[in-house]
């Protein structure tokens, strides 16, 4: 049931999945016989980064496990847009329970599979940033600590988009949300707040932690496949721009994701057993302004009364990331890698 | 129905004592119900537990309000807890101490009870001698058997060995047997004294 021939017009591009590259370099999406974990026809917004990220991640997991995947979903956009009654986009076994319990539900699924002698079936749990860094954090930490055999994927769009764009602990400084309005002397979200979940995950010494963006889907697939080679708790943090919440053009989703990485604001790396093992270096470094200015959530930093002081503080965050992870090749040797 | 209330301190096996007594009664084919006073007491705090023994089903779930016997595992509770509360007028009291009952300082509170049923037993010393640890609960059950006749020493012996495996069970049972002998002779002395 889970495998079905795919028509490329479903995704609107005949170049999908690097189909014009050599077969080794093609992504899962280029294969006509790929699984279609999340079928077309769902209710995601135009340009939804999460829909894109989830499809690539799950299809890659399906390929890596020969179709032996069960998905657990937290409440959130992904859950809501994929299963409006009476339809469902899920072509794989899929379970949604609550907002804050996806990691624990996944633990239960994995335990049941183990006890039933079906350890070949793997569990992927997924949530947005709210379900990961905020309400699901306790359950996630518990799942990590027990090293349960679950790949947990956070699709991070830096806010509670499903409920109307409110701040989460993944919302970056200065970003405007419905609960961090762009008013007052310090408009938008407060500096010095928020959680860095990939590093927290690494502190649990789980076997695999990685970050990715929807700008490099090939990299995302590769990381999912790597994660599926490993047993135990694994964490993948994927940056997925949200045109609605970020106030960006729907055709800019991938572009903005790329700028997040190329500016240094979103470090892309892999870590095994608590240690960084690889870093995706910045190919063409850009100032954060290029990333910020495409998004209305940062509109108050530009325009009539610009706030270069705040932009500079955001640039400092990017610079710090670049130093911490060695994101720029030239700088790698001279800067201390501090993770 | 025969009702027993145990007093002691957290860590002295007060709850276990009630449980063992109930197991002993069960072994003799009787109905028994043991339960603690349901606290969150820490080590050293006053603790109470209960045991009921009957020949028919025990339905009540109230705490033992009017005990037929008291087992007091720690004599230092005298000034902290109303130990004799509710004891029936011809009830028994077995106090763990190496002193005589009259030296304990509850002359006034205990005056209205049958004096030949108020007995002390150096259970901690007996436990140290036989077990090597100051845990008087099993020993006191032997004393209880001797004092009240509500349970046989054989049943106590069986229940103690069931609760504590191997050598620990043997040693506890030995302490119980020693206390049984001690109290048996004390009861005889007191009976002689009261007939004199």
């Amino acid at each position: 049931m889970t495998r079905q021939p795919v028509h490329f017009y479903q995704v609107g591009s005949f170049a999908v999945g690097n189909r014009l590259l050599s077969s080794d370099d093609r992504t899962v999406q280029s294969q006509r016989e790929r699984t279609n974990s999340i079928d077309s026809g769902h209710r995601a917004c135009q340009g939804c980064g999460e829909a894109l990220g989830a499809r690539y991640a799950l299809d890659a997991a399906m390929r890596a496990t020969n179709g032996h995947v069960v998905a657990v979903n937290a409440t959130g956009c992904l859950e809501v847009f994929s299963t409006p009654y009476p339809e469902t986009s899920w072509r794989i076994p899929w379970l949604h329970s609550l907002f804050g319990n996806a990691p624990a539900v996944a633990t239960g699924v994995a335990a049941a599979l183990r006890v039933k002698g079906k350890s070949d079936v793997r569990v992927v749990a997924q949530a947005g940033d709210g379900g990961t860094v905020d309400i699901g954090f306790g359950a996630l930490s518990g799942m990590f600590e027990r090293n349960d055999d679950v790949l947990f994927i956070c699709y991070d769009n830096e806010g509670y988009m499903n409920t109307g764009v409110q701040r989460s602990a993944a919302t970056p400084p200065a970003a405007r949300t419905a609960t961090t309005d762009a008013v007052g002397p310090e408009p938008g979200n407060v500096f010095g707040t928020g959680k860095d979940l990939p590093r927290i995950a690494m502190a649990h010494d789980i076997p695999y932690v990685a970050t990715a963006t929807v700008a490099d889907l090939h990299d995302l697939e590769r990381k999912v496949e790597r994660a599926m080679e490993i047993r135990g708790a694994r964490y993948l943090h994927v940056l997925v721009p949200c045109p609605l919440g970020w106030g960006s053009a729907s055709n800019d989703t991938i572009h903005i994701a790329r700028l997040a990485k190329e500016s240094g604001l979103f470090p892309v790396f892999e870590a095994e057993n608590g240690t960084v093992t690889s870093v995706s270096t910045i190919r063409r470094r850009v100032p954060v302004e290029q990333y910020l200015s495409l998004q209305r959530r940062y509109g108050h930093l530009f325009g009539k009364s610009p706030r270069p002081d705040i932009v500079a503080r955001i640039q400092a965050i990017a610079d710090n990331n670049i130093a911490r992870y060695g994101l720029v090749d030239d700088a790698t040797e001279s800067m201390e890698v501090n993770t | 129905m025969f009702q027993v209330r145990f007093h002691g301190r957290g860590g002295q096996g007060v709850v276990t004592a009630a449980e063992i007594l109930s197991v002993a009664a069960f072994a003799e084919g009787r109905h028994a119900q043991a339960f603690p006073s349901f606290g969150s007491e820490r080590t050293g705090a006053p603790v109470v537990s209960f045991c009921r023994i009957d020949d028919r089903e025990i339905r009540t779930r109230e705490p033992v309000m009017e005990p037929d016997a008291l087992i007091i595992q720690d004599a230092t509770l005298i000034h902290q807890v109303d130990l004799f509360a509710g004891l029936v007028h011809d009830g028994y009291a077995l106090v763990n101490t190496s002193r005589a009952f009259t030296e304990l300082g509850f002359d006034q509170t205990s005056a209205s009870f049958r004096q030949d049923r108020l007995i002390t037993c150096p259970a901690t010393e007996l436990a140290l001698e036989h077990l090597g640890r100051p845990l008087p609960n099993a020993a006191l059950l032997g004393g209880f058997a001797a004092l009240t006749g509500q349970i046989t020493m054989e049943a106590i012996d069986t229940a103690v060995k069931e609760r504590f495996e191997g050598a620990v069970g043997e040693r506890n049972a030995a302490a119980a047997a020693a206390a049984f002998d001690f109290v048996t002779s004390r009861v005889k002395e007191l009976a002689r004294a009261s007939t004199d």
């Binding site: 049931m1 859950e79 949604h96 049941a112 | 009630a18 779930r61």
Partner: protein, 421 residues
């Protein structure tokens, strides 16, 4: 085999005989002994084919059970009080998803003020969660109800909560006949899920349902509970044929023939009530007892029939709806809405206050004299309440009431040298 055994231990051993496949545990008094014993049996290998998972919260415990049950495993957990409230979102979710999880609830009061002792506030807080709720009168019944609960849950795809009074039952050592494996196996077939995460037949479980179908989903859940009312007596009958024991069922009556007054209650207090009623019967008072074993679904018909000839019904409850009164009383009243009788509610045993036979007999005497108030709080220290009320009237910052009451009690009990605050 009949054994003198702690209630919690009896439950753990019985649950193990039911061959659970995933057990998740988070400690909370007075449930801990149950889950510790199950864990030890898994670890030693005595309970094979079972995953025992120490989770980080009750919310996770129920969530793990949800995941396991949806994957076709027989799932079990136990909790109490704050633990039930902490997992309550998942408790509703489990029933909404139709997952036949069995959970022991070692009934305990809910704070603040924090209190670890028994009452039924926790069970009542989950009354409308869509679970079947069974109440045990004795440890024997508690053990037996677990075996029946798994079968009931799995037959109907509804989760079942077995309620047993915390400490009073869980920590009581008394005779319990523990079944043998063969008997339990003959009574409880392997779990055959109605819905399961299966890679060969993928389904979406937990999809969003809008106004166009939500009411129907809920109504189906209601019908399943009504089905349970039909099934529960049959399962109890099967159990009786297996063991010879009357355990479970909808309600249990005691001396109601010709009773003018009938006391209705849940759980272990029924034993003390029966003793009290026997004494009052000897004095010529015509009093009987109805114990509610199945509280959800509420057995309205059975209750109505049992209470039909009573002049007065006294509902004794270990919980109440603040600002209103009895919870069980409301259910009883609704069951008998067109019948002519006096309903009296007695709230008793809150936060572990001992319900004594003596107080019960005094209350029953009042009932017999038609002198019982519509809502009575048994053994309430009216003086303590009045003192605090006076304090609150006299000064704005009167402080936390719970501490004031404790200080009053301490000073009234203390030696005269201690300064009265």
């Amino acid at each position: 085999m009949l054994r003198q055994i702690e209630g919690s231990r009896a439950i753990a051993e019985t649950v193990a005989l039911c061959r659970p496949e995933v057990v998740c545990a988070y400690p909370i008094s007075p449930q801990t002994h149950i889950i510790e014993a199950v864990g030890a049996m898994v670890k030693s290998g005595k309970l094979a084919g079972c995953e025992f998972i120490n989770v980080e919260s009750e919310f996770a415990a129920m969530s793990v059970a949800i995941g396991a049950s949806a994957t076709g495993a027989r799932a079990y957990t136990a909790t109490a009080s704050q633990g039930l409230l902490f997992m309550l979102e998942a408790v509703f979710n489990a029933s909404g998803l139709g997952l036949p999880i069995v959970m022991t609830l070692a009934n305990r009061a809910i704070g603040a003020p924090i209190n670890i002792w028994n009452d039924h506030s926790d069970a009542m807080a989950a009354r409308d969660a869509g679970w079947i709720q069974l109440f045990a009168e004795t440890n024997q019944e508690a053990a037996d109800l677990h075996v029946q609960a798994f079968r009931l849950a799995e037959e109907l795809s509804v989760p079942v909560m077995v309620c047993m009074d915390g400490f009073i039952l869980t920590h009581a050592v008394e005779g319990v006949d523990i079944l043998d494996q063969e008997s339990v196996d003959s009574f409880l077939p392997p779990y055959e899920p109605r819905q399961v995460l299966d890679i060969d037949e993928p389904v979406s479980i937990g999809a969003m349902v809008g106004p166009e179908a939500f009411e129907e989903v809920r109504y189906l859940a209601h019908l399943r509970q009504l089905d349970a009312l039909e099934r529960i007596p049959g399962i109890a009958q099967d159990f009786k044929e297996l063991t010879g024991r009357d355990s479970g069922g909808l309600i249990r009556t005691y001396r109601i023939d010709g009773a003018e007054i009938i006391v209705v209650a849940l759980g272990s207090v029924l034993g003390t009530i029966k003793d009290a009623v026997d004494n009052r019967r000897e004095l010529g008072e015509r009093i009987g007892v109805v114990g509610i074993t199945t509280f959800r679904p509420f057995p309205s018909e059975a209750v109505r029939e049992a209470l039909a000839d009573a002049r007065q019904v006294v509902v004794l409850e270990k919980s109440f709806s603040t600002g209103f009164g009895g919870v069980l009383s409301t259910d009883v009243a609704m069951s008998m809405r067109d019948m002519d009788f006096d309903l009296r509610t007695v709230i008793a045993g809150l936060g572990g206050r001992a319900i004594t036979r003596r107080s019960l007999e005094e209350m029953l005497k009042q009932a017999n004299d038609d002198a019982l108030e519509p809502l009575t709080f048994l053994d309430l220290d009216q003086g303590a309440v009045e003192r605090e009320r006076a304090r609150m009237r006299s000064v704005r910052r009167s402080g936390p009431s719970a501490e004031n009451l404790l200080r009053d009690r301490a000073s009234s009990a203390a030696a005269p040298t201690r300064r009265d605050v």
